[in-house]
């Protein structure tokens, strides 16, 4: 069964439970697929991606002697590798496969238009079939991986990741902008639940890193340029101050552990105008430096600037920080009345719920205020701060003059994160934190291979969760480092030497310098593509006036076939 024989296409249309089948006529799409040229087999299945669906594909390939397979279901971004592997298992080259997205880009976005959605699914399948007829078998190539990792950000997350990689036997560069490791933890007074000072946690870690000669700690340094791809990134590092000479590195994987800042809630609850209104970290700084004034009573205001006030998200850790510090004040001043004004206490899990209970037992007051009626803070009499808030249970407003108002504000992404994101070619989410590959199943990966994410750079989380993600990102890096090589998709460019005149347009638009001129062709010089460097973007065929250079898997012929299939609809 060779590819250049006449195409024998099998089309498998997925119900995806009710996600597709519930919103468009899947059987009709399968039946329509059967009528298309070169389609010799078409069926619909409840879950094509499940074992029975894959078994149906394997069975059809063998029994119907298929040399092309099309699956119409969800999105290639998550399921293409699975179906390609299934084709390979059944003896069919994995690139004689075309994916048609009729769920995320059809059934789910046209839920009230059964007929139009079914019609659209049919046309998408027709486009898929048109492309499938012009597919050719391809083979993946492997590229070596630089057995060195790099971690951006020297907080608890970055340090943990670096140690894990080094302990597994690989060299790692830990790059930190500031002059000292530790990140946000340096600004904490005590950490919960161990009640130890952050230094105790950091010192042990820092000692391990310094002792391990596979770890290279580069403080006061930042990345200024990045080229290359998973397995071999070319990184340019520069010292933050002064004009010391830069450092060029070749690394296999990169872990983004750049952390986050505490939001300064200017204009909220009198912050910045009323004396005695501080943020959690400012309180912890006072506690750490021992210059906290005498506290008769204090009020903590949770969710300052969060959940719709300034940012849209809940910052996960400010409730616990608030409660920890409220208990700290109760400890220092047992007679002080400490009240926490909250909307919802995010004391999730076991230890946080226990801390919340211990705070109540210790006498910390918890008063819930409705979202629509936030507390009001203004300068009170004789140096006090007047807080007016509504106690829903008592059903009336309460006015308190306190010595201190502590605002629990959310963690926010660094101001200049956009620059780093662009250098890394990774997106930021709506909440400006780094946007991971899949929120549920690939939380610490980016869409582009070889770059991983951990800690508060991914979003607000506590120390233990940051350490888990740090270890996770280390493991993700180790899968590349220990494998030593990386498989690259064969969707690279190829040159038709008969028609290429060596004009060099393609060379000029190639961002990776993957094309060079060599002797040959009709005009004595032709372009030649180095598959190892070519990352399969397809910009060069876009610049070639004579279609001499093509991108495998996305050739002009295939794209034109899809356009024509779409255009002449009915006929």
């Amino acid at each position: 069964m060779r590819h250049d024989e006449e195409p024998r296409i099998g089309v498998f249309v997925c119900h995806c439970g009710s996600n597709i089948g519930g919103w468009l006529d899947v059987p009709a799409v399968a039946e329509y697929a059967g009528t298309l040229p070169y389609v010799v087999h078409s069926e619909d299945n409840l879950y094509t991606c499940a074992e029975d669906g894959l078994a149906a594909i394997r069975k059809a390939i063998k029994e119907q002697d298929l040399n092309r397979v099309i699956v119409a279901s969800c999105t290639p971004r998550t399921h293409e590798p699975l179906f390609q592997a299934t084709c390979e298992e059944a003896g069919l080259n994995r690139y004689l496969f075309e994916f048609v997205n009729i769920r995320d880009q059809c059934s789910w976005i046209h839920m009230s238009e059964w007929d139009a959605a079914t019609e659209k699914a049919k046309e998408l399948v027709r486009m898929g079939v048109a492309k499938a007829t012009r597919l050719v078998p391809l083979d993946r190539s492997t590229a070596p991986v630089e057995l060195v990792a790099m971690v951006l950000g020297g907080g608890i997350t970055g340090m943990t990741a670096a140690r894990a990689i080094a302990n597994s036997g690989f060299e790692v560069y830990l790059v930190e902008r500031r002059s000292v490791l530790g990140g946000l933890l340096n600004r904490l007074h005590k950490i919960w639940p161990t009640e130890e000072s952050p230094r105790q946690l950091l010192d042990g870690l820092e000692a391990d890193l310094e002792a391990n000669e596979r770890v290279h700690i580069l403080t006061g340094t930042e990345m200024v340029d990045l080229k290359g791809f998973v397995g071999n990134f070319d990184v340019t590092l520069m010292p933050v101050e002064g004009n010391g000479d830069g450092l060029d590195l070749k690394v296999g994987t990169i872990i983004v552990a750049t952390g986050a800042d505490e939001m300064k809630p200017d204009g909220l609850y009198g912050y910045g105008e009323v004396e005695g209104v501080v943020t959690e970290l400012e309180l912890e700084t006072m506690l750490r430096e021992g210059n906290l004034p005498e506290i008769g009573n204090a009020v903590f205001i949770q969710c300052t600037g969060a959940r719709g006030q300034r940012v849209t998200y809940c910052s996960r850790v400010c409730c616990m920080t608030g409660i920890k510090n409220a208990m700290e004040l109760r400890e220092l001043y047992p007679e002080a009345s400490i009240n926490v004004l909250y909307r919802d206490i995010m004391a999730y899990g076991i230890s946080y719920e226990e801390l919340y209970q211990r705070a109540r037992v210790k006498g910390v007051g918890f008063i819930r205020h409705p979202k629509e009626e936030p507390p009001r803070v203004e300068t009170g009499p004789d140096g006090k701060v007047r807080v007016t808030y509504r106690d829903v249970i008592l059903g009336r407003d309460i006015v308190q003059d306190v010595d201190l108002v502590v605002l629990s504000t959310p963690l926010v992404q660094h101001e200049d994160a956009k620059e780093l994101a662009q250098m890394l070619r990774v997106p930021l989410g709506q909440d400006r934190f780094f946007f991971e590959a899949h929120v549920k199943l690939r939380p610490i990966d980016f869409a582009s291979d070889g770059i991983f994410l951990a800690g508060t750079a991914h979003g607000p989380k506590d120390i233990e969760e940051s350490i888990v993600q740090a270890l996770g990102a280390a493991s993700r890096s180790l899968t590349f480092l220990k494998a030593g090589q990386v498989l690259s998709e064969p969707i690279v460019a190829v040159v038709d030497e008969d028609s290429c005149i060596g004009c060099g347009n393609c060379i000029e638009v190639c961002p990776y310098g993957a094309i060079e001129l060599k002797e040959g062709g009709k005009r004595g010089q032709v372009a030649e593509v180095n598959p190892g460097l070519c990352k399969g973007c397809g910009t060069c065929p876009g610049a070639c006036p004579s279609s001499s250079i093509q991108q495998l898997g996305f050739t002009d012929e295939q794209i034109l076939a899809m356009i024509t299939a779409l255009a002449n609809g009915g006929d």
Binding site: R307, I350, P443, G472, A473, K482
Partner: protein, 446 residues
């Protein structure tokens, strides 16, 4: 160094998959042991997952298949770990491969035997809402798609007769004389990722679970709205009218944050999955109204709070702070009346709904104590596996044994996945530091 490295993973859920796939990609040999006949874990029972409302099986199936098919991962289903000895870098593990009375390599998964088998028992996968036969797959997308005979249910093992399934099976894959066997494997590290059970609130009489048919747990509701579930995705009541419930009430923290039933902890995911289920109910039928009764609306993860606000804004979910005091069933209509306090007017109100979904506590597996005893690791007072160093939540009390997912503490799927990868890193570190017999890396880095 990597050639003879191997790791045992107990539990074939999403955390186990991530650990297994990371280790396998890094060239480590993985032995995965799963107690039930198919891998997939709890996530396989879910209809959708928050906050993206992705179809759960759709994002899980690829992981199941990739894990089962991976050359470096040896998956044993319907098997349990019996004994563990040795220490970090060099554990000897005895695995009991329970007889499933079906030859894995012969069975094609056609399912013909199941039609013929006369014996029906309640299906654990369907949370008891539907039956399965004595010979069965736990669910349609099971991996491996191999039948299994439940010895306690099968008539043959009682009367010596029947064997209808054997007659039906063209592949000749069924053999009632198969026996349990014990396999020993030698591994450098062990990862336990056994997940959780769902607390069934029979003892909370005020909510009438077990007495009123239309009071269900959240996992049961997930099965009801699942297209592959007992009702084929039709949202319907369990009372024999099988009517479509237009008004749903969700009660949070049932048996959780509950000192009276000595379970003071918060299960971390219920506020989210109740909102999800209310959204899906509205998606199934646009005239469905939902009320969620909560104490703290705990949506703290990435994109979670925006999800809750979308639930309120776009799906019309009514969020009411305050737990209902009790539920009374109207004997004729089987509808349910909830008594709750309206926080603003402070009146006690009665809300009449057609179905109540209890977001019950999620608790460690019933056999967690045995697993802990076999592994020689300690548990905390609620039977979660204990992390001696709170900051290193992957490490159990025994060196070389790591843990991931809900068996360690309440967490959602992304945290379980991250911890899956984390235990893979810890295992690789452990094996690098304690190679079997080789020179310890320790001196180099000490």
């Amino acid at each position: 160094m990597t050639k003879d490295e191997s790791v045992l993973i107990i539990g074939g859920g999403i955390a186990g998959f991530q650990a297994a796939l990371d280790l396998a990609a890094a060239g480590v040999q993985v032995h995965m042991v799963e107690k039930s006949p198919s891998i997939g874990g709890r996530m396989a029972q879910l209809d959708k997952t928050f906050p993206t409302n992705d179809c759960s099986i759709c994002i899980l199936a690829p992981k199941m298949i990739e894990t089962y098919g991976h050359k470096n991962i040896n998956v044993r289903t319907y098997a349990e770990v019996q004994k563990v000895s040795g220490s970090i870098g060099d554990f000897q593990v005895e695995i009991l491969q329970k007889a499933r009375f079906v030859y894995e390599d012969k069975c094609t998964g056609c399912g013909a035997c199941m039609e013929k088998c006369p014996k029906k028992v309640s299906s654990e996968y369907e949370m008891g809402l539907a039956d399965r036969r004595a010979i069965y797959f736990p669910f349609a997308q099971a991996v491996p798609r191999v039948a299994t005979i439940d010895k306690d249910a099968c008539i043959h093992f009682k009367t010596g007769k029947c064997l209808l399934c054997v007659k039906e099976c063209q592949a000749g894959a069924i053999d009632h004389k198969m026996e349990d066997e014990v396999i020993t494997v030698n591994v450098g590290a062990i990862i336990v990722a056994t997940g959780f059970d769902v607390y069934l609130p029979y003892e909370m009489e005020e909510y009438g679970y077990g007495r009123y048919e239309n009071v269900v747990t959240a996992m049961e509701f997930e099965r009801i709205i699942n297209a592959a579930g007992p009702t084929h995705g039709h949202m319907q009541r369990l009372s024999e009218d099988k009517g479509r419930p237009k008004r749903l009430a969700f009660i949070q923290c049932v048996g959780a944050r509950d000192v009276r039933h000595d379970r003071p902890y918060c299960s971390a995911v219920c506020c989210m999955h109740s909102t999800k289920e209310a959204m899906l109910a509205r998606e199934h039928h646009s005239d469905t109204d939902s009320w969620i009764f909560y104490t703290d609306m705990r949506a703290f993860g990435k994109g979670f709070w925006e999800y809750i606000e979308r639930g309120e804004r776009d799906y019309g979910i009514n969020y009411i702070r305050g737990k209902p005091g009790e539920i009374i069933e109207d004997p004729e209509t089987k509808d349910l009346i909830l008594y709750y306090t309206d926080r603003e007017t402070r009146e006690v109100r009665a809300l009449e709904v057609e179905m109540v979904i209890l977001a019950t506590a999620l608790i460690p597996r019933a056999d967690a104590p045995e697993v802990a005893q076999i592994l020689g690791i300690e548990m905390d007072e609620y039977n979660f596996f204990k992390a001696p160093n709170v900051m290193m939540s992957t490490d159990t009390t025994r060196e070389g044994v790591y843990m991931a997912g809900y068996c360690q503490k309440p967490m959602d799927i992304p945290d379980a996945v991250a911890q899956g990868s984390a235990t893979a890193a810890r295992a690789m570190e452990a094996m690098a530091q304690n190679p079997k017999g080789g020179t310890s890396q320790k001196e180099v880095t000490a």
